[in-house]
Structure formats: C-alpha cells, structure tokens
Amino acid sequence: MDPLALDVAHLFAGGLVLVSFMLLYQDRMTGLVNNFALHALVVSLSVAWQAHIQHAPHLYITAAIALVVKAIVIPLALHRIIVQLGIHRTIETVVGVGQTMLAGIGLVALSIMVMLPITAKAGTLTQQDLAFALSVLLLGLLMMISRRNAVSQVIGFMSIENGLILAATGAKGMPLVVEISVAFSILIALIVIGVFLFRIRERFDTVDIHALHQYRGEQP
C-alpha cells in the first residue's frame, strides 16, 4: 500500500487519540461538547479516508452517519440540554488533571503493547486501527470514571462508541445494517440519557452524580 496513504490514516487515527486527551483535559461544559463534535468529525474523516484506501464504498455511509449524527445532531442536542440545565457556564472541578493525563498515557501504552503483538499477522492498517481504537475506548472509560458531572459522563460514553467505529473500520467493516442500528441506538440512548439527566436534576437539584452515591447510602 502507498506509504503516504498509510501515513494519512495514521494521522487521523492518532488525531482521534489526541482529541480523546483533549476531552480529558477540557473542563468547561460548552468546550467539552465542541470537543466531542471534533472527536466525531475526526472519526468520520478517518473512516472516510479508510473507505478511500480500502476501496470499500459502504464505509462512506458509516462516515456520513458518524458525521451527521455525532458531529452535528448530538452536539446540538447536548448544547440544548446544557443550556436548559443551566450548567453551560459551569467549570467542572476535574480531580487531578495531571494524574488523569498520566493514567491516560499509561492506558494508551497498555493498549499499544497489547494490540501490536496479538494483531501481528493482520495488515498494518488493521493493526494500527485496533491499537488506537482500544486506546480511545479506554480513554472514554477513564473519562467516565474521573468525571462527576453526568453530562461529561455521557460524552465519555459517546466517545467510546467512536472508538468502536474505528475498530470496526479497521476490521474490514461491520455489516451496514449493524452500523445503522448502532447509530440509531446511540440516538435513542441520547434521548433516554437526556430524560434521565432532567430526572436527576429534578430529584437532587444537581447533575453531580456524587449526590446519587449518598442517596444509595454509600460513604460520601
């Protein structure tokens, strides 16, 4: 394969990991949502480029779905939710950005160390996609456990799904039906989560999930 084409694929996939780190770093709500839109944009660019170099036209549809649903519809909806919840000016108190970043670096190293040996027989593209996809997935999980605000946890969850799309692209694509249904289930998840956010706010006057911990009788 043309080395330049591989380099561009590497650029987009690596950029996705970088944007995941930016999500971890960002502490303003609106900035977080915009960052998430960037995340989805990078993933759709990555998928579109791989559709081009793998000659797999159905991946273009995947990229288009990612672009429309996750880079436009979901960020707009999240912006509305944030404004309605009245937290669009909130600066979230992220516990220890430095430690989170270091943990994130460790996770990326882990996923590269795990993925490179076990995918040694696969093609270069698959290998690098799977390694980066696992990093994005783990970084999304890290974001979900390090944030207290429910909206940022939702964004962490959605970024995990972007990682899954990247993995599926590298593994020569999943069937289109599955892809479309995943996109719709993400939309439905957003609606359910939105309803839940408002319920949490109604019940506890906050979207800080530590209030839930106390309600369950755990130690604060």
Binding site: H10, V17, G98, I105, L116, Q127, F132
Partner: protein, 318 residues
C-alpha cells in the same frame, strides 16, 4: 588548511548567534509593539541596553557570596556554548559531533541551576520565590523536552542535531503525526523555558507572578548585561532548534563552500524573522495564565511528547 577553514566557519557561527540574539529579541518586541499600534523601541535597543549596563558599576548586596558573582559568567558561557552547537545555517560543522540534543538540554539545565542558586543566594524572599517557581517549571519542562527529543531521535536514529536535520530532509520521513505532536510540545516547552507570555511576562518587573525577572532582581551592571544576553541567546536557541529540526530546508551542508554558507545564513535569518513574527502574534493574542495553571500547561506538553513517542511505536511496527 581545511581544519582552519572549518574552525573559522564554526567561530563564525558562534559570533553569528551572539550577534543575532539581541537583534532577535528587539525584533520580537518591535513586532509586538506594532501589533498594539505602538511605535516601539528601535531594533538595536537591546544592544544599547547591554552597552549601557556594561559601562555601569556593579552594585553587590552585602549578603552576596561568590556564587552570586560567578553565576552570570557560567550562565552566559553554558548558554552560548549550547546556542553555538545548534546547526543554524549549516549542518556538519566541526563541533557538530558534540551537538547532541541531550547534551544541549543538560547545558541549559546547568545554566538554570546556576540561575536558581543565584536567585537564592542574596536571601531576599522575592528571589527565593522566583527560584522555586523556576524549578517547578523546570521539573516539568525538562522531561517534556526529553520526550520530544526521544521522539525525534527514534525517527532519525540519532540524537545529534545535524543528523536529525539531515534525516528530516530525507524522502522517507513522510507525513508523521508524531512530528506534529513533538512540534507542539517543543513550542510549549520553549514558551515556558523562555518566560514568554502565557507562562511569564518578559516585559514587566511589577508582577507578583513573574518568575525569571524575580530571580535576577538583585543583579546590576555587567552581571545583568550577561544575564540579559544569556536570556536572549536562549530564546534564539529554542527558535533555532525548532527551525533546524522541523523546517530544515535551505540549510547548508558543510563542505559546500562559501556561497552555500552565505545562502544558509540568509535562509536562517528569514526563518528567524518568520518564527519571531509568529511568536509575537501568539503572545499578543493570548492572556497570561495563573502561575498555578502552568503545571497543567506543561503537563500537556509532557503528554504530547509521550503520545508522540507512543504513536511512533505503532508505525514502526510495520
């Protein structure tokens, strides 16, 4: 005879960096003033300031020990050596075998160590604050710089700046995402190390969050002139490293003759002007951050360095 010529070129480079450094500082100040719609001091103002300081007497505090008096010479010497090792207009000069990036980081580190000691020496609380903050910044900036260096050396297969610059010009570099990360990381480190605006303000003595100026507050006369010269050399050094590693086009190769060297100097000056302009625009556009945000800023630079090295492993596994 050839050795004498090589030595002359090397000496020419040493003189060149020393002569250009204050001009570069003046140029950045001038561009910043123009961006604020002010006239600004003339380009040669830093030279005039240095001459004025050299003519003045040194005023020493009663509590100052020999460390305080020796430090400016050591700081100036180490910074000058580091700056003259960088391939600015030509690669493969006679001292370039010593132009190891890790050695340059170490030279800068020892200059910083002397500066921090000098800040503590007189015993004023202000100097102490400056020193402690400088060390806080250094403890994060140095690892970040080293990670960037590792990324570059992994790609080029060498830690020598000449070979790195040569391999960056080569055809097999391609489009590397790690290089972009390393570039951003190195720029962040350069901004922090040179006390430029989001981290520290080089233009004021009246700010409680200042770092570099707090340490040298007790210096006067020729000592202050040497420290100012070292500071402008350091700024030139970082810009030169960035230019030589990431934009090595047009650099002369040793042995090409005088014309190539003159051309290399011309290209180098143009690159410096472009770099200084970008720096001035960046500094004008951004606000200074709180000193307690600096660890986050440098942590991000460290993260970029790490990430660049890690991502490189994926492409090298081919």
């Amino acid at each position: 005879m050839a050795i004498v010529l090589d030595l002359l070129v090397q000496i020419g480079q040493m003189v060149l960096v020393l002569a250009l450094a204050p001009l570069f500082t003046g140029y950045v100040r001038k561009v910043k003033a123009h961006l604020l719609r002010r006239e600004g001091p003339p380009l040669v103002q830093p030279y005039r300031e240095m001459l004025r300081l050299l003519r003045k007497d040194v005023v020493l505090a009663h509590t100052a020990s020999w460390v305080f008096r020796v430090a400016p010479y050591l700081i100036f010497a180490t910074t000058w050596v580091a700056a003259s090792l960088i391939p600015t207009f030509a690669t493969g000069l006679i001292f370039s075998y010593a132009a190891d990036v890790i050695a340059i980081v170490a030279l800068l580190g020892s200059a910083r160590f002397m500066l921090a000691l000098a800040g503590l020496d007189v015993g004023t609380s202000f100097g102490g604050i400056g020193s402690s903050r400088e060390m806080l910044i250094a403890s994060l900036a140095e690892p970040a710089m080293l990670m960037v260096v590792f990324t570059l050396s992994l790609l080029a297969g060498s830690t020598q700046l000449s070979s790195i610059a040569a391999s960056m010009q080569g055809p097999d570099v391609g489009l590397r995402f790690s290089l972009a990360l390393a570039l951003i990381g190195l720029i962040m480190v350069a901004i922090a190390e040179n006390a430029r605006i989001p981290v520290d303000n080089p233009a004021t003595h009246l700010e409680l969050t200042m770092v570099h100026e707090a340490m040298i507050l007790e210096y006067s006369g020729r000592h202050l002139a040497l420290i100012e010269a070292a500071a402008s050399l350091k700024l030139l050094l970082y810009v030169s490293v960035i230019v030589c590693v990431f934009f090595p086009w047009g650099i002369a190769v040793s042995g090409q003759g005088l014309v190539a060297f003159v051309g290399g100097v011309g290209v180098y000056v143009v690159k410096l002007a472009a770099g200084g302009f970008v720096l001035a625009v960046f500094e004008t556009a951004i606000a200074k951050m709180r000193v307690f945000r600096v660890p986050d800023f440098l942590g991000a630079a460290l993260m970029l360095g790490f990430l660049g090295a890690l991502l490189l492993f994926v492409t090298m596994a081919r």
